[in-house]
Symmetry: C2
Subunit: 303 residues, 2 copies
């Protein structure tokens, strides 16, 4: 087995281990809330239990481990909250008025499995629940407030929601896709949530300012790289590989990296971002190997 293969298999096992922990935390948080409306709970379980990769949540846990030597209960709650916000965003993005998608994580989207009203409300409920668990399950108030602030800023109208808004607008006929617009969309829609996940993990591990800023930068770089990979995969994959409908971006007239700068330059940019992300990790030494493997794994998705 080559060194790259060994690293790959380490990474896959490491991600799967973290995904299990995240799934367990999500299940516990949902099960403990006995007051949740029954039909809503069904929709929440359906979307949360769909086989997501849990990359953002794993990033929270890995960054906590990197700065403090181990994960901790606060980071587990933070990881679950990040996954809730990510899942809410998928439910709403898939709605007919938005990207109108039928397939997500290999299953019918929430509004297909239930109905549109349920999907809107399930998304609203998940977004709210993310802030509720951070407020209720983190013992130290100052830490809870920091995490809530990070998450709200990344998810809201200066982050993910702004990115989705710009993404939808860019579909209108006559919009010229420029690299500048693309970068605005991808940074807001995707990269800020990766940056936030890395920061939340670092904060849970009581990182100092320097480490926190490094991990923030790492998160932003791999988040942008991840979204470019997504654009590339949309062009080159089947729905079985993707777990969602392929070729939709081009059909919808979305601005994507392959469409705007071409496939060759997209792959070069992706490589450059992975290199920059890995460079940021230098001061952490071998402890950061799993994050290096993450950067490489994201690159290899499109090979």
């Amino acid at each position: 087995m080559s060194a790259t293969h060994a690293a790959n298999s380490d990474f896959t096992a490491g991600l799967s281990c973290k995904a299990q922990l995240v799934n367990k935390t999500l299940q516990r948080l949902l099960a403990e809330r006995v007051d949740i409306d029954r039909d809503l709970k069904e929709a929440l379980s359906y979307t949360l239990e769909a086989p997501g990769k849990r990359i953002r949540a794993a990033l929270v846990l890995w960054c906590c481990e990197l700065v403090s030597g181990r994960t901790n209960p606060d980071a587990e709650i933070a990881a679950a909250a990040v996954e809730m916000v990510h899942t809410y965003s998928l439910i709403h993005d898939d709605l007919p008025a938005m990207d109108n998608d039928d397939l997500r994580r290999g299953l019918p989207t929430c509004h297909k499995a239930f109905d549109e009203a349920t999907a809107i409300l399930a998304g609203d409920a998940l977004l709210t629940l993310a802030f509720e668990v951070l407020a209720d399950e983190i013992d130290e108030p100052a830490l809870a407030v920091k995490l809530i602030s990070e998450l709200a800023q990344a998810a809201g109208s200066s982050g993910m929601v702004a990115g989705q808004m710009a993404d939808l607008k860019a579909e209108s006929p006559g919009t010229v896709g420029t690299e500048h617009l693309l970068e605005y969309i991808h940074i807001n829609k995707t990269a800020k949530m990766f940056r936030c996940a890395a920061a939340m993990g670092a904060v849970c591990g009581r990182a100092d300012e320097k480490d926190l800023n490094s991990l923030r930068e790492f998160g932003l770089k791999i988040g942008l790289g991840f979204q470019i990979a997504d654009d590339i995969l949309d062009v080159s994959s089947t729905s079985e590989q993707l777990g969602k409908t392929p070729g939709k971006d081009a059909k919808a007239g979305k601005v994507t990296y392959p469409a705007v700068v071409g496939m060759k330059k997209s792959k070069e940019l992706q490589k450059k971002l992975a290199d920059q992300a890995v460079a940021v990790l230098k001061p952490f030494g071998p402890k950061a190997d799993i994050l290096r493997q993450l950067a490489v794994a994201l690159l290899q998705r499109t090979k």
Copy 2:
């Protein structure tokens, strides 16, 4: 002028004064956030600046004043956050997949003035912003966490979202409207947010446990009374009076108090709730007059 008229005019002036303060706070919070996507900001301003009565937000301020003698900057932020969550819920409830309404606060609904995707995203952004301002603008972390927890619990899947879900389900043919179902819907959809507003105000004013619990109960009672009044007004008003489309509840087959228990019993119930709400205020003496006037004003909406 009779005593009732004098109290009425005091109340109207008091509410209008609080509404101005809330509007100023909302404008400031939005203006300070320079990073917000421009198109989103337009939709947020449009919905936040529509002429709402700001009753929930005023309740926050009044309860803070009652327990501490004056309002304070924390209560002003809490009031703005409550108004943001209320406004998000109106935007999403009005969507075609939900109550499909064209008119709100006397203006075209958000999805009519903009489009459906913008309305979904504006709602998402407002909900997120409510938690962001509580985390960022309240100085004491323990207070911020308490407020966030209160708001998330009232707004989420054990509260407002659950109420809207049950309300929509109750529209399906064959559903028998019972008083039990009605109470579940109205308590979750409306009364818990009033209870939460009262509690947030009390918490901002550093209320003791006893006063906090009394104001919680007051909030729940007038919240339920408010929703019954809304049901009655839907039957008996014009769109000019309501600022939204009247007669929609009956047309949509919604379970409402007049439909389930009749108009006479609805008004009796409303009176009983107002009396119970006023009784809860007894220990506060004359300081609580504005809250008594609120209970009476809600009753008089339907006279």
